[in-house]
């Protein structure tokens, strides 16, 4: 069977939805971060696929940028999380309601 663009897009969509669902459903902050990474990954796949189809190198460039962003964001997110754990002994997102009105 021929692997067409559509396959890649469907894969990316599935990954994205999985990530989003996980992000909404899971309570553990670390797991939420991992879901965010999933979503970012799916976007990468889309860009790479389209780049291959249109012969445009811009897509690849954006993928690299995306990596950098994801890395930075993960670093910061984890740092924050560690700090929160040190203070409140929990990473359960439902317990972090200090900003409630």
């Amino acid at each position: 069977m021929e692997i067409t663009l559509t396959h890649y897009l469907v894969l990316a969509a599935a990954l994205f939805l999985t990530g989003m669902t996980g992000f909404i459903i899971r309570r553990n902050a670390i797991v939420m971060l991992m879901c965010v990474e999933l979503m970012l990954c799916s976007v990468n796949i889309v860009f790479a696929a389209f780049s291959r189809v249109h012969g445009d190198a811009g897509g690849h460039v954006f993928v690299l940028m995306n990596f950098a962003v994801a890395a930075a964001e993960a670093a910061i997110g984890l740092a924050l999380l560690v700090e929160i754990f040190r203070r409140r002994r929990t990473v359960n997102v439902d317990d972090l309601k200090a900003l409630m009105e």
Partner: protein, 659 residues
């Protein structure tokens, strides 16, 4: 005119820090300067031919939009010149007097500040180039009157008197303003470019245009005059105003401020003559006031109250004069009255000062020997006001009565005549009770009685001299004089031809009176005899009044008592209580007004409607909105994530379907 303003400002600002002498000196000097300047301008005016006697100085445009323009300007014509001389001259004398009278007072500097401010305001009034400048001065003197009446404001009664004066004045001003508005509204369509809408010159020029509305306008303006010049029904503040220091009573409430109303009517004479109805009203009110106040003065025991009611009565004469068209004579009486009334008030101040501030005449007596200068000058004043030839009062009052007779208002003449007799009577009563007989004062007061210092007696003497000779500037024709006063003021009061004809057809008698030329022409005919008769009659009548007063109070003070206790009991009580007018006003106006403001306006509207309803409701709206929006601020991260996803989904769907 600026000099007193500077004086007021300096005195007011420096107040306590400068020694008393300096303050007093400064104040008197500034007024003195004004007086000198007034004389200078007066002389300049005399040097000009009669028709052109008009100097004006327009500083700048005060208000102006479209065709509506009012200038900030001053003008001097024969009428203003006379008024300026009176104001600054008598004012100067009173300033000097106050140096002595207020010497022991704590508020010495403050007093002179107010006095200077007053002179400034009064000058603005008489020198104003247009009606609004006049009004500025009008309000200014009202303010100063309030400040000065309640000068010793630590006494509640004094403060109340000041308030009363200002508020009653305000009522009059309301009418005044309405009149001004009417003038503006009626005149605007007819104005040329650059013509100040309320300028007197312009008003006079366009007087014909205002003819149809003249009655309404003049009546409204007259309401203002009744307030300021203490006519019925707005005279009630003047007797209460005696709570202020005596120099104040002399200056403001005898010589100058109260004459502002008369001045205003004279200024607007060209408008008043267009409305015979208004003139008649003015005349009637004037005559009624004259006799009404005279009757009250007969029974008052406070020396200043007698003089106060006397002032109201004399103002009635001035207003009467204007009402019958003898504007020049009204102003003439203003001048002579300024002299002798100021004299009388200052004299009474001298008496009060000597009596350690006792003002009840029943406790006076026999002061003739202890206060010789005061007595002599006071007697001169009394003779003047009673209209004894050849003092000033005779000429002015007699001319007014003559003009009243000549205009056909015989009833008014009778009223004025009777009032003149009463004037003589109560003045003599005052003199006798104060200066003759046994001294009835308590011992500690008696021991302090002394003649006043020179600063007080000198002005008395000057005013006495003026009271004697003041009338001589206008000896009427039938006596062989030149009627100079009337001639001097002719350009101001001359009527344009158009008005002559309109008035002629409308009301023969009023036209006759309004036409100063006509009055002069008539003296050549049979009327001279009538003038002589009337003049002699009023002279003799005045003497009679004096004589009766003398007899009653000198020989048998008991007569007055028995009269009082027997049949005249009721009459006496009515008069003594001033016809209960104050009580009437209280019941009709003041109490309902108070109740209205407290119950309706305060409780219902302010507290109920505004506080409760409007303010609270708007707060509630905000609170409700807040509580709704609070749901979205729950701090739950997953909720936020969920909302983001929903939003994203909606957005994607929208895009895919609209693309």
């Amino acid at each position: 005119m600026l000099a007193p303003l500077i004086g007021a400002a300096v005195n007011g600002l420096l107040n306590r820090r400068i020694p008393r002498q300096a303050a007093g000196l400064l104040a008197c000097t500034t007024v003195g300067i004004s007086f000198v300047l007034s004389v200078v301008v007066f002389l300049r005016l005399t040097g000009m031919p009669a028709e052109e006697r008009f100097l004006s100085d327009i500083l700048t445009t005060w208000m102006g939009f479209g065709r509506f323009q009012v200038d900030l300007g001053f003008a001097m014509d024969p009428l203003s010149a006379i008024m300026a001389l009176i104001v600054t001259g008598v004012g100067f004398l009173i300033h000097i007097y106050s140096l002595g009278y207020m010497a022991h007072d704590d508020g010495f500097q403050r007093f002179f500040t107010y006095l200077n401010l007053f002179i400034f305001a009064m000058m603005t009034l008489v020198l104003g180039e247009n009606l609004l400048m006049l009004f500025v001065g009008w309000e200014g003197v009202g303010l100063c009157s309030y400040l000065l009446i309640s000068f010793w404001f630590n006494e509640e009664a004094n403060a109340a008197a000041g308030k009363k004066a200002f508020i009653v004045n305000r009522v009059g001003d309301f009418g005044f303003l309405l009149g001004i508005f009417l003038i503006g509204v009626n005149l605007m369509p007819h104005l040329g470019a650059g013509e100040g809408v309320f300028s007197f010159k312009v008003l006079q020029h366009h007087a014909g245009v205002l003819a149809p509305a003249a009655t309404a306008i003049c009546l409204l303006l007259f309401v203002g005059a009744t307030g300021k010049s203490a006519q019925i029904p707005l005279y009630i503040w003047l007797p209460d105003a005696m709570a202020g220091p005596t120099p104040v009573s002399a200056l403001i409430h005898a010589a100058t401020m109260v004459t502002a109303g008369v001045y205003m009517i004279a200024r607007m004479n060209f408008l008043f003559v267009l409305s015979p109805t208004a003139m008649q009203v003015v005349a009637v009110v004037g005559a009624a006031t004259a006799i009404f106040a005279s009757t009250i003065a007969l029974t008052q025991n406070d020396i200043k109250k007698v003089l106060a009611y006397s002032t109201v009565s004399q103002l009635g004469y001035m207003v009467l004069a204007c009402g019958v068209g003898a504007f020049a004579m009204g102003i003439f009486h203003v001048m002579t009255h300024a002299f002798f009334k100021a004299l009388l008030f200052l004299g009474s101040g001298s008496v009060i000062h000597a009596m350690s501030h006792e003002q009840d005449m029943r406790l006076m007596g026999g002061l003739r020997k202890k206060l010789p200068v005061t007595y002599a000058t006071f007697l001169v004043g009394t003779l003047a006001i009673a209209g004894v030839f050849p003092l000033a009062g005779f000429f002015s009052k007699d001319e007014i009565l003559w003009k009243t007779w000549a205009s056909g208002n015989t009833v008014l003449w009778v009223v004025g005549f009777i009032a003149a007799g009463m004037t003589a009577f109560y003045m003599m009563r005052l003199v006798v009770l104060t200066f003759y007989g046994e001294n009835r004062a308590p011992e500690e007061v008696k021991s302090h009685i002394h003649e006043s210092p020179a600063t007080m007696t000198a002005p008395l003497v000057v005013l006495a001299v003026l009271s004697i000779v003041g009338g001589w500037v206008s000896i009427p024709h039938f006596m062989g004089g030149g009627a100079h006063f009337e001639q001097w003021l002719e350009p101001v009061f001359a009527q344009p031809e158009v008005v002559h004809h309109a008035a002629d057809t409308a009301h023969g008698a009023a036209a006759h009176a309004a036409d100063t030329h006509g009055a002069e022409a008539s003296h050549g005919s049979h009327d001279t005899t009538m003038e002589w008769i009337l003049a002699t009659a009023s002279f003799l009548w005045g003497l009679l009044g004096l004589a009766v007063g003398w007899v009653v109070y000198m020989r048998k003070a008991v007569i007055a008592d028995t009269l009082r206790k027997s049949g005249g009991g009721f009459m006496y009580r009515v008069l003594h209580n001033k016809y209960y007018v104050d009580e009437l006003y209280e019941a009709v106006f003041i109490r309902p007004g108070f109740r209205l403001s407290r119950d309706v306006l305060w409780k219902t509207i302010d507290a109920g409607l505004i506080d409760n309803f409007l303010v609270m409701r708007s707060a509630l709206v905000t609170l409700l909105a807040g509580s709704v929006l609070r749901i979205f601020q729950n701090g739950m991260v997953r909720f936020y994530a969920w909302s983001i996803s929903i939003g994203l989904a909606v957005f994607v769907i929208y895009l895919s379907f609209s693309g």
